[in-house]
Amino acid sequence: MTQILAQSAMAECWACDTQNDPAAYLCAACGKLLPSDSTDYFALFGLTHRLTLDVAALEKQFYRLSRKLHPDLYTRASKEKRQWSLEKSALLNDAYRALRDPIARTEYLLETEGIRLEEQSRDATDAARATGTDKQQVIPPDMLEEVFELNMQLEEVRMAAASNSQDPELMANLEVAEKNFTAQMEALQQQLESLWAAWDRALADNDAATKDAAKQAMVALLNRRSYIRNLVRDVRQALGKS
């Protein structure tokens, strides 16, 4: 492992002296790599912050940009340019990874809006560990009853497993629960896409109130999704599927 140097900002193209937008990663005039300080994933692909996007077009653009930024093209260049290429190429790959995945894309957008889902969750985990308590997840109110029932069943399965026995009826119930939660996950996907559409419209109209409402709805949806995902994981584990 080695230490890398911090980059310096520059707007003028080192190759042809053209003045470029400080956020541009390639020179508008000569197409050479620039040491831009822009880190916005959408901007890198030439996109606005719309959430509905064409993944096939995204891949095409990813390949096109890879051919410009990849370190393989700069092995004979100066140390400085090699470093820029390394950083830009990493940014491109990070961006593509996030944008092509619906959930990661939504989380990234919310992050650019100042909402850090990932960190909230990690802080909660750390705090729970530090105090020696179980991490408390907020159970969506409408799921309270369902989750209570499920937890009872999961506990029974664990106890049965400890005494090397198996209750077929219980297992059948869990199979039903798995199907049920998996279906809910799919439904959430549909709902997420309609929230994207709401966000995209609000973005185009520059409608702050609707944008806020869409953001809050997306946060709630992602939290619910992560809760259900954990349930599916637990059920699959109890069923010996993972």
């Binding site: 492992m1 390949y63 990493a90």
Partner: protein, 643 residues
């Protein structure tokens, strides 16, 4: 602009190769012995020279304590990682290696780190290439392949080996990816390709998407300690058990016998890929003979558990790629172990080939295809050609990168199968008022607890401005480069101060250590030079001493004054004293002094008619020293030439 020659190197567990792009085709460069494969065997000869390749193989049997093979298994690993290997491989490790320290291997009375041993193999390949390209050519840049599943420490160790060998490693390329490049270059294929790479010591599976010249790796998996070696070890265990049981001979600690058995089982293994049975027939110490016939059926039963271990990584890679086996268009076989029919059958089963009317691709030599692909990548990096135009490789990191969080759990920062270069930014703060250091532990692996993952490095963020606990916000950037090697930088955001990072690589060498190892190899060259000088000086001293010894019987001797006799005797005694010592310069000086002291005698000899007598003796003395190296002329020698 003329392109610099960049070669592609496959640094294998069993064999290594060097290749380059000749016009539009990659070709393997043969060694002086005409062989494309350089066995990855290094031996320390009795005279202190390092011998590499086929020549070193003989040493494995004759002087096993001075030879080493399969050193790739030790690259970037610690003493606690290799206990399993030590049961099967005759690695002689130094005894005082602490956990977390780089390994040292004993060859005779010297010790070498695994990268140094690999550097000798790389240097041999470099020399083979230079010889091939013709007089005066130098090869200083290379692409070197590594198993896709190699971790950061193993990659770093490979890069260090290149540096020690005088090679600037422009890129580490994953072996299965390199194979795909060689394969794709030939066919201009599109679609999804799986590369099943089962070599001498490692197993890799990579799944790639080939489209418009882009080779995008989408998932990889493997086992860095699974290969043909494991099959050899199984067969050896049987042979050794047989010999212990039937012949009451425990040979497990007899290095010479073990190597002879190893050679025999490898030959049998190879034969069983094309024949229904093979016979082990081994001469044992003490004159006994061990014979055993092995049918292919027995062999396949025996190796089934070993080759079955390749199935789980394949299934995981297919799952990670988000596809089904039926979506894989082609399967390419790489590595010598894929010649085993049972291995091919397993591949067909995993990838559901027969039901789709497909067979695995074996049209490129499985021993050479990785080196050929490395040569293609070398050409791309050197600036490309028509053949490589539009070709771009997008590889991935095989293992997740994480940080040890509270309670010893791993917080993932970069997921496995992420396209590289890849980066992640994490924020840290202090827990105590005025704290100026934060310790960070970086690990690689898929397990939940840090202790079950591979420790990459522990480092301290230093120079944090003293503030109230929780106020500093230290941004740490993790960046995995195109070689799959991690770089770390840090910044305290509130003060904007660049935090200092002190990285302690686990099982790795520091830059300074690598530097000394480069110098060490120069020192060895110097040592070789010194040895040669010493041998030559001693030969010369012997010649002159013999002459002076016989001088009193020459009539010219009586013509010298008494003080001249004395001076010669003194110079002779001086030379006799330094002659047995190691300092060739002192020997040269003493020769010169004796030469000077006898100059008058030599002149007198020429002047007297009886000088003929000396001539015969001189010639005889010279004869006796023939083959010991050239001898420099001195004042006695010209006398005989001129008469």
């Amino acid at each position: 602009m003329t392109q610099e020659r960049v070669v592609g190197i496959d640094l294998g567990t069993t064999n290594s190769l060097v290749a380059f792009m000749q016009e539009d085709h990659p070709v393997v460069i043969p060694g002086e012995d005409g062989s494309n494969l350089v066995p990855s065997v290094v031996a320390l000869a009795a005279d202190g020279r390092m011998i590499v390749g086929n020549a070193a193989r003989a040493h494995l049997i004759e002087t096993p304590e001075r030879a080493v093979y399969s050193v790739k298994r030790l690259m970037g690993r610690g003493v606690e990682d290799v206990q399993e290997e030590l049961r099967f491989f005759p690695f002689h490790l130094a005894e005082d290696i602490a956990p977390g320290e780089v390994l040292r291997i004993r060859l005779g009375d010297r010790e070498y780190t695994p990268p140094e041993i690999s550097a000798y193999v790389l240097r041999q390949l470099k020399q083979n290439a230079e010889r091939y390209f013709g007089p005066g050519s130098s090869v200083t840049k290379a692409v070197v392949t590594v198993p896709a599943y190699f971790n950061d420490a193993q990659r770093q160790a490979t890069k260090d080996a290149g540096r020690m060998a005088g090679l600037d490693v422009l890129r580490l390329v994953n072996e299965p990816t390199a194979a795909a490049l060689a394969y794709g270059l030939d066919k201009k294929k599109e679609g999804i390709v799986a590369v099943y790479d089962f070599g001498g010591g490692t197993f890799d599976i990579s799944i790639l998407k080939l489209q418009d010249g882009i080779f995008e790796v989408i998932a990889t998996n493997g086992d860095t300690h699974l290969g043909g070696d494991d099959i050899d070890n199984l067969l050896m265990t049987i042979a050794l058990d047989d010999i212990a049981g039937d012949l009451k001979l425990d040979l497990r600690h007899n290095g010479e016998a073990v190597q002879a058995i190893r050679k025999a089982v490898i030959e049998a293994k190879i034969a069983l890929s094309s024949q229904p049975q093979a016979t082990l027939d081994i001469h044992l110490p003490g004159g006994q003979q061990y014979r055993r016939t092995l049918t292919r059926e027995q062999f396949e039963q025996l190796i089934a558990p070993v080759i079955a271990r390749t199935a789980a990584p394949c299934r995981q890679a297919i799952q990670d790629a988000g596809i089904t086996p039926a979506q894989i268009d082609e399967v390419v076989l790489v590595g010598g172990s894929t010649r085993i029919p049972r291995v091919r059958a397993l591949v067909e089963e995993i990838f559901e080939l027969p039901s789709r009317g497909k067979t695995p691709h074996t049209d490129l030599n499985p021993d050479e295809v990785v080196a050929l692909g490395a040569a293609v990548q070398a050409k791309i990096l050197a600036g490309g050609s028509a053949a490589t135009e539009d070709m771009l490789l997008l590889d991935i990191t095989p293992l997740s990168l994480g940080i040890e969080a509270l309670g010893g759990v791993v917080a993932r920062v970069i997921q496995r199968n992420s396209t590289i270069p890849a980066s992640a930014t994490e924020h840290f703060t202090t827990g105590v008022d005025g704290q100026t250091n934060v310790a960070i532990h970086v690990v690689q692996g898929e397990r939940e607890m840090a202790k079950d993952c591979r420790s990459l490095a522990r480092f301290d963020l230093k120079g944090i401005p003293p503030m109230t606990a929780g106020i500093p916000r230290i941004e740490v950037k993790f960046l995995i480069d195109a070689n799959g090697i991690l770089h770390v930088s840090a910044r305290e955001q509130r003060s904007g101060k660049q935090a200092e990072i002190e990285v302690k690589p686990a099982y790795g060498l520091t830059d300074e250590q690598v530097e000394t190892m480069i110098l060490d190899s120069f020192d060895n060259a110097e040592e070789d030079f010194r040895q040669r000088q010493l041998v030559e000086a001693r030969n010369e001293a012997e010649t002159i001493l013999t002459l002076v010894e016989r001088a009193p019987s020459n009539p010219a001797w009586k013509l010298l004054a008494a003080e001249e006799h004395l001076r010669i005797a003194r110079a002779k005694s001086d030379l006799e004293q330094v002659y047995k010592q190691e300092d060739y310069r002192a020997i040269r000086n003493a020769i010169e002094a004796l030469d000077k002291a006898t100059r008058h005698f030599a002149e007198l000899q020429m002047e007297t008619a009886v000088s003929f007598a000396i001539k015969g003796k001189t010639m005889r003395a010279a004869d006796e020293n023939m083959g010991k190296g050239p001898t420099a002329p001195h004042s006695i020698a010209p006398a005989e030439i001129e008469t």
